[in-house]
């Protein structure tokens, strides 16, 4: 090959890549964000009750998940607590999900499947409340908002082993 000195500095196998990313205005940043973390970060203002959720669930969800949440064309959302170590485990929101935050995050972004992103924050709180109640985790008179949802402790909270978690050295 040519002697290194013959290689012009403006031409090489690699040069510093361009920097073409456009800064995102702070306002746009907050607006686009819908991630909800287990500690409640990301939860919006608003509130909703188990009773409100029951009505919404029948109107918007029951057609696919069944009137009692036990599943239909879409999967079951209710039941199965205590079944995980059995031969016939039932994995549901109540039996399996480690965090209530996931319920808010997921319903807001993805449900109902035919109209994702259509629910208001109050409605998502209400639906989350009803599903947690149907799973025996919240009482019938519960109302959820950012603080109370973050405080819910799910039955299977400790049920997961993070195998390749980058925060821990591999075993």
């Amino acid at each position: 090959g040519p002697a290194p000195s013959a290689v012009p500095a403006a031409l090489a196998a690699e040069l510093a890549p361009p920097r073409l990313g456009r800064p995102v205005p702070a306002e746009a940043l907050a607006r686009g964000d819908r991630h909800v973390f287990p500690d409640g970060r990301g939860l919006p203002a608003g509130r909703g009750s188990v009773a409100q959720g029951a009505v919404l669930y029948q109107a918007q969800c029951a057609a696919c998940h069944g009137v009692d949440g036990r599943g239909l064309t879409a999967e079951e959302l209710v039941g199965g607590v205590g079944s995980l170590a059995s031969a016939e485990p039932e994995k549901t929101v109540g039996s399996y999900w480690p965090h209530a935050s996931t319920l808010f995050d997921f319903i807001r972004r993805a449900m109902p499947l035919h109209a994702p992103g259509s629910l208001k924050a109050d409605e998502v709180y209400a639906l989350s409340a009803w599903l947690l109640h149907a799973n025996g985790i919240l009482p019938a008179e519960a109302v959820l908002d950012a603080a109370s949802l973050a405080a819910v402790r799910m039955p299977n909270r400790a049920g997961f082993v993070a195998v390749d978690d980058p925060r821990r050295p591999p075993p």
Binding site: P18, L20, G21, V36, V163
Partner: protein, 395 residues
Amino acid sequence: LASAPAALAQGPGEAGEDLPPWMRSPGAGFSVYGQPGPQAQRVLRRPGANRAAPGNGVAWTPLEQLEGFLTPSGLHFERHHNGVPAIDPAVHTLRIDGAVRRPLDWRLADLLRYPQRSHLGFIECGGNSNAGWNEEPIQRPVGSFHGLISTSEWTGVPLRLLLDEAGVDAQATPWVIAEGADAFAMQASLPLAKLRADGLLALWQNGEPIRPEQGYPMRLILPGWEGVTQVKWLRRLTLSAEPLMARNETSKYTELQPDGRARQFTWAIGVKSLLTTPSHGQRLDARGTYQLSGLAWSGAGRIRKVEVSADGGRRWAEAALDGPVLPRCTTRFRAAWRWDGQPAVLQSRATDETGAVQPSRAALLAARGRNGYFHYHAIVSWGVDEEGAVRHVYV
């Protein structure tokens, strides 16, 4: 040796009278985008969708109808949770935000100006082969229960470049939350270290722009990792100290163990192989020599060796690897077998360059129980009966 064709052998009739019709009149003209011919149209993906939600489900790659190690883009398996979005590439952006020095947006046109790299490799759904956990061996063609794996050349921007431009702190925020621009707004919490090591923001699939159902205009590629992490229609990467605990990394894509606890954040595909010829549903016509052909792959690197057995795993012979043997890519293996007309059980067993050996089904079940659902990668067995019928069996 026979003598060369005799002179004057032909009479005075038309020269073409014995020719097939397609040699006697001009064929079809040129086309701007080629398609399989009518005779090959039966080689198709096999969709299986939720009847209440047509974009929710899978379409299987028909593995037993294919040869070689690549998958034509039109037959790449599909897995969508809420359909294939029709994204306008002039509007779509990739954003890197969260715990970064400079939250940034890139348009497709910007990304084309960055250095590109290719990865020729497989994508396998973490739920592929999950019928293997069933009590009874499922009676389906191999593509219809192992066909959530496909192999393509993915080309795009090394993610390291974009992450570094935004300014990341790998110690403080080891997680990146990826989000898709589909109607499911797919999420995955992923280690920054993997994205920086060999993650690609793929813009091209097998040379052309990525197909819509594979993530057009851009897709996260994480060589060797399960498909759900390789977020399609990628719109956002959010740096974080903690994982999100999204629905698809808690409720799904976690593996329930016999003790009731579940393995989470299991991303690399285990070493795996299967015979595609012969395979379930095929038939051996008569005693004699049969060519065995199959695929082997591992998320940890290259395939080092594939062995085959005709007696359910008692004795093994080494198969030939039909190169190139590439890391985190399917490798075609081949062997030959003389069938004596007796019942037999055909198997293959792969070993990768880390020394990992594909487990027997019994060993996998002993380690993981029966309800793990994901990451099934045990040895696959095809029983041959006295009539030559080939069926999926357990041994």
